[in-house]
């Protein structure tokens, strides 16, 4: 793709004879890059190294003087909590269950909405695009509160609609079995971002391809299966990647539902980062919290690698091999 491009001609490239001018260009360029390079070292590179080192220590924010290396103790504690169905196993389970429910649903909904908003027949496209996108801009704390009310088991509208239809309604955020599906609903409200990216991908599909399917006697499904899907597969790939990263960072909504950090109701919203926050900031166990952060990093890296590996089979780059 066009991320890295050869820069054969540069505005400031002087005649090749003048070496000092080339060096001056490099220096000027580096000066422009310097804010980012300094930030990279101070706010990214050093913290990564520091957090790896911290994960092998017992660092406690309130007692930094007791700092010592404890080898793999943090990691063996994690392994124990994983095996004995402790906090690590629970929080990984909640996060994985949420990912399995929300990622496929979000992708399908975003694609469905994008297909709908891409219809030639639809009137007022910009209005609908704005309406479906708008909830993305609402602060997550505020939208969680709105859904807490909307999904309330007695006064919420969803329960009242279900009752009016003669159906039973759970008390979503108060019922351990339904709190996670409730958060999935809340997540759907943020579908607008992915929808816009799908929409841009759809608009890039050449219309000749659709006409070719038509000439071959194919219907709407054939057009979708053999033209749309392959042509937007890079965008699909990007959206899956972004949503996996999103789930790995899930925190705010679960924290608003239960600021106590227990993942109420019944531990059903005990996300990985709630556990990390509790260990790091409630108990000040920052060494152990660093080890937790590295575990999540590892999970995300593995998931990303698997996704990249399989992508050769289903992601189609129109420009030929990448």
């Amino acid at each position: 793709m066009a991320i890295i491009e050869d820069e054969k001609e540069s505005v400031y490239a002087p005649a090749p004879r003048k070496m000092s001018a080339a060096r001056r260009e490099t220096l000027t360029g580096l000066m422009f890059l310097s804010p980012w390079i300094i930030g990279l070292v101070v706010f990214t590179a050093l913290p990564i190294i520091a957090s790896l080192v911290l994960s092998f220590t017992n660092f406690n924010l309130l007692h930094p003087e007791n700092l010592r290396f404890i080898g793999l103790d943090n990691y063996s504690r994690m392994w124990n909590e994983f095996q004995n169905n402790g906090a690590v196993a629970m929080s990984l389970g909640v996060t994985a269950r949420f990912a399995l429910m929300s990622v496929p649903l979000m992708i399908c909904l975003a694609l469905g909405l994008a297909l709908l908003l891409n219809q030639k027949l639809l009137l007022g496209k910009p209005v609908f695009r704005t309406l479906f996108f708008m909830p993305v801009l609402i602060p997550l704390v505020a939208s969680t509160i709105v859904w807490q009310g909307f999904l309330n088991g007695s006064t919420g509208w969803l329960a009242q609609i279900l009752h009016a239809l003669g159906l039973p309604s759970p008390d979503w955020f108060a019922d351990p079995a339904w709190a996670l599906p409730g958060l999935v609903f809340l997540g759907i409200w943020g579908v607008g971002n992915m929808m816009l990216i799908f929409l841009a991908g759809l608009q890039g599909v050449p219309t000749e391809l659709y006409e070719a399917v038509k000439v071959d006697g194919g219907g709407a499904w054939d057009r979708f299966r053999h033209v749309t899907l392959p042509m937007i597969s890079p965008v699909l790939f990007y959206n899956i990647l972004i949503s996996i990263i999103g789930v790995s960072q899930y925190f705010t909504q679960a924290y608003v539902i239960d600021p106590g950090g227990q993942g109420l109701p019944g531990g059903s919203t005990f996300f990985f980062n709630i556990n990390l926050y509790k260990e790091g900031w409630s108990y000040n166990q920052m060494g152990y919290a660093s080890a937790l952060a590295w575990l999540m990093m590892l999970v995300v890296v593995v998931a990303t690698l698997v996704l990249f590996r399989t992508s050769a089979r289903w992601v189609f780059y129109a420009g030929g091999d990448r």
């Binding site: 991320i3 804010p35 913290p47 911290l54 009137l123 890039g204 705010t252």
Partner: protein, 363 residues
């Protein structure tokens, strides 16, 4: 879906329909698709309607039986003795009448006809009756929220953090993106790959050491950890601006250079004026990010409620009031908290959505 209804000029051999039949079919499909999309949008935005209507309600209405969806209060009748009675819809022999309930009883109740002031005996269980609700917009919740939430303080804090942060993020990203887009630097492609990789990095691994470092220099409990890092160019913003700068023609740069303009001068007078759409998009991105950010203000400002930003203040408010069952108050509070970002979105939505698309598709 409805592609068959499109009036495509066929190369011959196709069935011929009259143009009028075509137009009618086309119109019906248009109407159908638009209606379907509109109903989807309505379902999608139903929680917003809930928030809006609830925030204007009395909290008594939330738990009252048979209360309407819109904000309303029960109609009251004040009798001659100064006592107020609730008015009910009462089925009588002469049709349904609005009567005030004076003495409730299981079998017989004493009612007053508000029109005449006469007492009437009514046979039946008063509990089965429905009260008469008068649509009333109440702004009490907002008055309570503005004082209990300390909205002016939260607004000021959030504005300071997000405006300074936006200035830092956009200013530094412009400089760095210019460096990447226009200079020949050995190893630049490698640096750019590193930049892309940092976009993907999970924030957890950076968080704890950053917190410890900011704590060590005494910056926790101040806004500095939220503002200072923005001046060191966020990778995502750099990426977006650099993509845009690359699309700008180089001829103008060259002309300016021939005239003896310095690189900074070229950036200021040639590049920036051409790159407004991307710069506006990045500014909006950062402003929204900063306004809606929760985790960083939560950990860095904990124990300092006077410095809290909107989201942190709102969460604390919700934690206190949602247990007290005051659904109306928390809905009013979230309405207040989303006003600024939603208003700015509607003003700048074009630039913003273009930015989302640039960042997603170009990757």
């Amino acid at each position: 879906m409805t592609g068959k209804a499109l009036p495509l000029p066929l190369a011959g051999g196709g069935r011929k329909r009259s143009p009028r039949a075509h137009a009618i079919r086309f119109g019906i499909s248009r109407f159908g698709v638009t209606l379907f999309t509109a109903s989807m949008a309505m379902i999608f935005l139903l929680p917003l309607a809930y928030m809006l209507l609830t925030s204007f309600k009395d909290s008594d209405q939330m738990t009252a039986l048979n209360a309407p969806l819109w904000p309303a209060v029960p109609e009251m009748y004040t009798a001659a003795d100064g006592q107020a009675y609730t008015v009910y819809e009462v089925p009588t022999a002469s049709g349904v009448q609005d009567l005030a309930l004076e003495k409730p009883g299981r079998v017989t109740s004493t009612m007053i006809d508000p029109k005449t002031g006469q007492e009437v005996q009514w046979q039946g269980n008063w509990r089965a009756l429905t009260a008469v609700w008068l649509p009333t917009v109440k702004s009490d919740n907002f008055a309570n929220v503005l004082s209990a939430l300390n909205f002016p303080m939260l607004l000021r804090n959030t504005l300071v953090v997000s405006v300074l942060g936006t200035i830092g993020a956009v200013g530094s990203a412009i400089l760095v993106a210019f460096g990447f887009a226009r200079f020949r630097i050995p190893g630049k492609n490698g640096l750019f790959l590193v930049l892309i990789m940092t976009i993907m990095l999970p924030f957890q691994v950076l968080l704890i050491p950053q917190y410890i470092a900011f704590n060590a220099v005494g910056w926790t409990g101040t806004w500095l950890p939220l503002i200072v890092p923005t001046f060191f160019a966020n990778a995502y913003n750099v990426f977006l601006l650099r993509q845009y700068f690359l699309t700008l023609p180089r001829e103008l740069d060259e002309a300016a250079e021939v005239d003896g303009a310095s690189p900074l001068r070229i950036l200021w007078s040639v590049i920036i004026p051409q790159a407004w759409p991307a710069i506006v998009a990045v500014s909006l991105f950062h402003f929204f990010f900063s306004w809606n950010d929760f985790f960083a203000p939560l950990v860095y400002l904990s124990g300092h409620p006077d410095l809290a930003t909107m989201t942190v203040g709102l969460q604390a408010f919700n934690a206190t009031y949602s247990r007290a069952g005051s659904g109306t108050l928390t809905q009013a509070a979230s309405l207040v908290a989303m006003l600024v970002p939603v208003a700015i979105f509607f003003v700048g939505q074009r630039a913003f959505m273009r930015g989302v698309v640039i960042s997603g598709v170009e990757k």
